[in-house]
Symmetry: C2
Subunit: 295 residues, 2 copies
């Protein structure tokens, strides 16, 4: 049994643990009863997308009834949304490293308090692609920073500590195999660049501030491509670092909404973007079904 | 007339500008008609708090009717929520620097496209206090980083650029004067530390990961206090930096939910926390009323 590895000796001394941003606490909620059977956790930025995912996976696993409404477990707050069906937990994390980091601290403690074991966490997200047809799905080999290094800089008490952003190789391969089996859209394994900013940090020309030109932008994106980067998003590095430290198997599966070598604006129609965003859900849904022997 | 200063020569060449995370665009929405009369923009992390604020300010300005429901202008997305009444716009920004940065890029472009002038932007938020009674309100003098320097590091195309985090001194003084006039809660002017993380980055002992002890934590917080820091939050530095560059008058007004010298967990009752969170709203609501000659 692979339990959560909690890297914090202080927690054992606390009588009660309030997970403030989930509006849950060990003094008010029975975590083992509520969450003890969780095996798969899927996280993504948008609360409505994570609600759509729980509805989808419930039907796929034969655990839902059509039109069933899944209650938001974090209804006491609007910071994050959380849904559960059977062994699957679906949690939103907002946008950016700090936002997903708060969520992961509380999620990892939740799984620990619930005595969960053999957990797999997968981020299903959106991203900008580099050199890929829009709608392609990228399974992350390594999450790299804005200088293409596979590392995450965590500031602790004012000092910077470097953490590894390794992800589970075997899990990435299994997900790639699943994509081949469902054979519905282009999927690649590649590096994912994780930035602190959507506009200047990703070389966009269409933000409120832009002090470089198109040539410099394209040079940067091509350097990223040459180093193995296939997509850019804003959460994978701290996600990989924290899952690593907690001994949890983790993967990042993001669809690319555009090809950044061809533009900056996300201008596809609403319907096309909705269909793109379902692709990581379909891939991870199939993976979960297969893992449970239901394929 | 003080118009928005747009630091991006590329935008003039674009036929259309899609503000993706607002689900608004210049090709589909008439920005001057929708937003041209805006003079005050209030931003805060939580969408429901920003909705509560628009209801409150509408009543204060005599522009609302009891029980009136204000539509979410960004209803086409769940990334941010936006509400408007008269000259006041209320926008949520999620948690952390990257999340507020995306919102501010699109907000500044929105105000520019709408040809707004003489804008004041105020962040009304929550924070952890240092050496203050919980419920105290801090008006930010300077936003400082985790080493107590008044600067923001922006990564652009992989290189780090330092930006100033100055806020409007006169506006901070006017807000302090408003607090004296309403005389309902303790308010101070002080420095605000802006971190990339809520747990390790703020010296908490109750995250999923903690590799330091209580002494080291308290030493760090006391150093922060000695340098003039009175509260800690996660958005003020990029907020100050971007407002600075865009020539917009800006202030940060945050309530402190706890005194970090006495603990890490936010354990006050729901009702107490709700009342605390109304304090920046009351202060800024009074300031807006006074600015409009309605006090």
């Amino acid at each position: 049994e692979n339990f959560i590895h909690l890297c914090n000796p202080h927690l054992e001394k606390m009588k009660e643990d309030i997970l403030y941003h989930f509006a849950l606490g060990t003094g008010t909620h029975d975590f083992p009863a509520l969450f003890g059977d969780v095996k798969f956790v899927c996280v993504g930025g948008s609360p409505s997308r994570m609600k759509a995912f729980i509805t989808y996976i419930a039907e796929e696993l034969g655990l839902g009834s059509p039109g069933c409404d899944y209650p938001n477990i974090c209804a006491g707050t609007d910071r994050y949304a959380m849904y559960k069906v059977g062994p699957v937990l679906s949690v939103s994390h907002g946008m950016g490293i700090p936002s997903i980091s708060i969520m992961l601290h509380e999620l990892i403690k939740l799984l620990y308090h619930a005595k969960c074991s053999n957990i797999t966490i997968i981020r299903i997200g959106t991203s900008g692609g580099i050199g890929l047809e829009p709608g392609s799905v990228v399974i992350t080999r390594q999450s790299v920073d804005a200088t293409f290094k596979p590392q995450f800089e965590q500031v602790i008490l004012g000092k910077t500590v470097i953490r590894s952003t390794n992800l589970d190789e075997q899990l990435a391969k299994e997900l790639m195999q699943c994509s081949k089996e469902i054979n519905q859209f282009n999927t690649v394994i590649g590096n994912t660049m994780c930035t602190l900013d959507f506009y200047e940090g990703q070389g966009r020309l269409d933000g409120a501030i832009c002090l470089y030109n198109e040539e410099e932008k394209l040079q940067y994106l091509k350097e990223a491509y040459d180093s193995g980067v296939r997509n850019i998003e804003m959460e994978s590095s701290v996600f990989a670092a924290m899952c690593n430290l907690s001994g949890v198997k983790a993967a990042v599966v993001c669809v690319t909404l555009l090809n950044r070598l061809e533009g900056d604006q996300i201008s596809s129609s609403h319907d096309v973007l909705v269909e793109y965003q379902q692709r990581p859900q379909k891939l991870v849904g199939y993976f979960i079904k297969k893992s449970l022997g239901k394929v």
